[in-house]
């Protein structure tokens, strides 16, 4: 096996029945809800599922669903874990370890029902231990950090100085994405916004205003993946896995090799492009995990869609907006659609919808979608290339 190209396809894909604020369901229940929805999406007999990938206990989920798997993956590298699960699942299917994999993800990110830790974005719960011997505890918590809002964007002012990115261009990211969300009924925020609206929103952590930070929601999603051969037997339109990549960099932003570029994005996306045998010009639709407004900027550059320093003007000029040449984050992204903490699954779901041609804000003629995930704060990356064109064209 020299490549995962066209070895597997997503045949079932669904999010939780509800999305946003779901105070009456635990994170575990939301995993089950999403899994059942994905199973029903493709109409598979659940007893045909012989692989389970999830960041929760695979045993707990398998047992709840009455499934006895022959393959499991419990990779937990933050919000990109599910892109990595898809890659691992494709490899497991291609090598015969299992035939059909359920990838499931859910979080009670907002209401914290059944969750063991505090809400992401809540400074008290994210500020680390009071006496801490971990590396972040010894050398970062002592300076008043509180999770992603105070760390993820730490390199942005440096990036601005080195490339000329403006505050207006940074603010143009949520503005562009809201144009997509405007026609997405399940998006939490849909009203069109302006640069001024972004600047007038509350300062969270300079240079990031509230509208440049992701939502905090409840929800989840699940996928059913099987071999490309078998994919044709299902009622859904197969979404073929064409290219895959994964990588990790630093556990903390401050020790990235270069804080103005993600080495993990570069490594992971390069693998995915090479495996898929496509170039940036072949990509009709792009998802870049957007926990904060700078991520699509880093993503566009590190994935090679634009040159160094060009991403801000590329977005500001409307190239990623509806009607633009590179539609990006077409569900509205973590900034407008939903973000329960580990957003990667929602990015995959939107790629699948676009490739199937059934997205709420559908882009015309999508054949190839590139989905880029981030885990932790530039800690990990996963990349997937999807297509609706089969291997025997």
């Amino acid at each position: 096996m020299d490549s995962l190209r066209y070895k597997a396809a997503i045949v079932g894909a669904s999010e939780t029945t509800e999305l946003g604020s779901i105070p009456d369901k635990t994170a575990f229940q939301l995993h089950v809800d999403a899994s059942v929805n994905a199973i029903n999406d493709c109409g598979i007999d659940k007893n045909e599922i012989d692989g389970i990938a999830t960041t929760m206990s695979p045993a707990a989920l398998a047992h709840y669903l009455g499934i006895i798997p022959t393959w499991i993956d419990n990779t937990q590298v933050g919000g990109t874990s599910f892109l990595v699960h898809v890659r691992h699942a494709a490899a497991a299917i291609a090598s015969g370890l299992c035939e059909t994999v359920l990838v499931a993800m859910a979080e009670s990110g907002r209401n914290r029902v059944g969750e063991q830790t505090g809400r992401i974005g809540d400074v008290a719960s994210m500020s680390g231990g009071r006496r801490d011997s971990s590396f972040p505890g010894q050398f970062e918590s002592i300076y008043g950090v509180a999770g992603p809002t105070t760390q993820f964007g730490m390199g942005v002012l440096r990036y601005m100085k080195e490339t000329g990115l403006t505050h207006e261009q940074l603010a143009s990211v949520p503005v562009a994405q809201r144009k997509w969300a405007n026609k997405v009924p399940r998006a939490m925020y849909r009203d069109i916004i302006t640069i001024e609206d972004v600047f007038n929103s509350r300062m969270i952590c300079y240079p990031f205003h509230l509208l440049e930070c992701c939502l905090v929601t409840d929800g989840g999603g699940a996928l059913i993946i099987t071999s490309a051969e078998r994919a044709k037997d299902f009622r859904t339109k197969p979404v073929y896995i064409m290219g895959t990549g994964e990588s990790v960099e630093s556990p903390v932003v401050s020790q990235m090799y270069d804080m103005t570029t993600s080495a993990a994005f570069k490594t992971s996306s390069k693998k995915a492009f090479e495996e898929a045998g496509v170039t940036q010009d072949d990509v009709d639709h792009l998802m870049v995990y957007d926990a904060f407004a700078h991520l699509p900027i880093y993503g566009l550059e590190d994935l090679g869609f634009v040159k160094r320093g060009e991403a801000g003007s590329f977005i500001e000029e409307g190239n990623t907006s509806p009607g633009g040449k590179l539609p990006m984050n077409t569900n509205g992204g973590g900034l407008s659609y939903t973000h329960s903490g580990m957003y990667g699954m929602y990015a995959i779901q939107e790629s699948v919808r676009q490739v199937r041609g059934e997205a709420a804000h559908q882009v015309d003629g999508v054949k190839t979608s590139f989905c880029q995930g981030v885990g932790g704060m530039f800690m990990a990356a996963g990349s997937l290339v999807f297509t609706n064109e089969g291997p025997h064209r």
Partner: protein, 137 residues
């Protein structure tokens, strides 16, 4: 020295105890590799460049530049009176970067100019621990 210090306090480990012992003496020490001669931070038992364990601690000049920062408007417990406060990255003249707070100057975008020169100072937060911070040089 404050017994009422309400911010997180670092707990040294066998890898980092030299760093904190020297900080208590108001000196900033980091490691370098005697095999490839590269300095590095955070404390490790092997060089991140060549994996050699032939390392030594050395005293830095305590000088650096402001590499990047954010200004947090939502203080974590213990930092309420500081907000809004900068969480900054200083690049030591020796090369490695570390996180810090900037003191001796109001933490505003106007005051905090990237690449401004900084020098290390120490905040004695207990009898055992002094935390390195940086101020305009």
């Amino acid at each position: 020295m404050s017994s009422g210090y309400n911010k997180p306090i670092p707990v040294p480990t066998p890898e980092s105890d030299v760093f904190w012992e020297k900080a208590k003496q108001h000196e900033l020490w980091i490691q370098k590799c005697l095999n490839c001669n590269k300095p590095f931070f955070y404390p490790r038992m092997n060089c991140p460049n060549c994996l050699s364990d032939n390392l030594e601690w050395f005293k830095t000049g305590g000088m650096g530049t402001l590499y990047s920062y954010m200004i947090n408007h939502r203080p974590v417990p213990g930092f309420e009176e500081d907000a809004p406060y900068a969480i900054a990255i200083v690049q030591l003249d020796e090369g490695p970067r570390m996180m810090t707070n900037i003191v001796g100057i109001e933490n505003t975008p106007e005051n905090l100019i990237l690449d401004m020169k900084l020098k290390v100072v120490f905040d004695d937060v207990s009898d055992e621990i002094a935390i390195p911070k940086w101020e305009p040089a």
